[in-house]
């Protein structure tokens, strides 16, 4: 059930200049961005759902988490990505989906940079076989692009965050 008065992002006290600049962007552009970003995460999640053992090995490569936790995450995270991607496309649980995806991509960015600094030979596993041959810069560029898109969507002016 929707509330009569929906909370909007402008209530979060973001800088007014940024807000006014973002408000000039047409609504259909935001909608396209929702679908693209949501689609990317659904694709990334689906690839990993098909081979969770490979993803568990990819998590293991980062040498951050114990194997047992990595296996648990390998079963859980891909589905979380898919549901959050769907939340963006279907505009249901939108704020929750955006927040979780922003947290996931931020954590992944930190882990990737930390792995690079430690000199680990990592396969990110984020897009299955497709991303295996990507170098560190390509990974970083895509992750930063996704993070920027998520942050922009999060601070989109006038957005009503519907529950269901």
């Amino acid at each position: 059930m929707l509330n009569d008065r929906r909370p909007v992002v402008s209530e979060m006290n973001e800088p007014s200049t940024l807000n006014s600049q973002l408000s000039t962007i047409p609504q259909f552009v935001w909608r396209i961005a929702d679908v693209i970003v949501g689609g990317v995460f659904i694709y990334a999640g689906a690839i990993k759902v098909l081979d969770p053992i490979r993803f568990a090995n990819d998590i293991e490569n980062y040498k951050i988490l114990p194997w047992t936790i990595g296996v648990g995450l390998a079963f859980y995270l891909p589905w979380l990505e898919i549901f959050c991607g769907l939340a963006l496309i279907l505009r249901r649980l939108y704020l929750g989906g955006l927040t979780i995806l922003t947290a996931l991509i931020s954590a992944f960015l930190v882990a990737t940079i930390a792995a690079k600094i430690r000199g680990l030979d990592i396969t990110c596993g984020c897009f299955g076989h497709v991303s295996q041959r990507w170098n560190f810069s390509a990974h970083l560029a895509l992750d930063l692009l996704l993070l920027a898109a998520l942050i922009l969507l999060l601070f989109r002016p006038g957005r009503d965050f519907r529950l269901a």
Partner: protein, 151 residues
């Protein structure tokens, strides 16, 4: 207002992801170990593998460019990029009594585990082992042995 909505949405999504995740974990319960990535019985050290001599067949799971630069003498290339192309070449050299030792660049790389897993599952091979420490460990052991010989 926004905060409580956010918390509620995050919790709903987190719970939604949990349901198929648990289902999949149950489905895969016999296919993955929750204790270690590769069982100790499927790992082999450089010294152990070298002791197998002619009974071992070495498989280089690194990309072609790294294999071309240098590799374990007699090793065969078998990476996931050209799996379907390289697998027949490997199988032609393989025989049942031989032990397969798969290696990639270092301890942290994943390719050797994946190639070993595929050799067991897809090619139905037994006696497939992952080299501890990979190519880096091979080089280190070689250097140690050379130093010892030069004394």
């Amino acid at each position: 207002m926004v905060k409580s909505l956010l918390v509620r949405q995050v919790l709903i999504l987190a719970a939604l992801g949990l349901v198929p995740g648990i289902g999949q974990a149950i489905y895969f319960r016999d296919k993955v170990s929750w204790r270690s990535p590769v069982p100790a019985s499927e790992m082999v050290t450089v010294t152990q593998a070298r002791a197998w001599g002619e009974n071992a067949i070495w498989v280089d799971a690194r990309p072609d460019s790294e294999f071309a630069r240098d590799h374990v003498p007699g090793a065969l290339p078998l990476n996931e990029d050209r799996w379907s192309e390289l697998l027949p070449q490997f199988l032609a050299a393989w025989s049942q009594e031989k032990k397969v030792v798969v290696y990639c660049s270092s301890q942290s790389c994943n390719a050797s585990r994946e190639v070993a897993r595929r050799l067991r599952n897809e090619a139905q091979l037994k006696n497939v082992f992952v080299l501890e420490g990979g190519w880096e460990e091979w080089l280190r052991t070689n250097r140690r042995n050379l130093k010892w010989l030069n004394r």
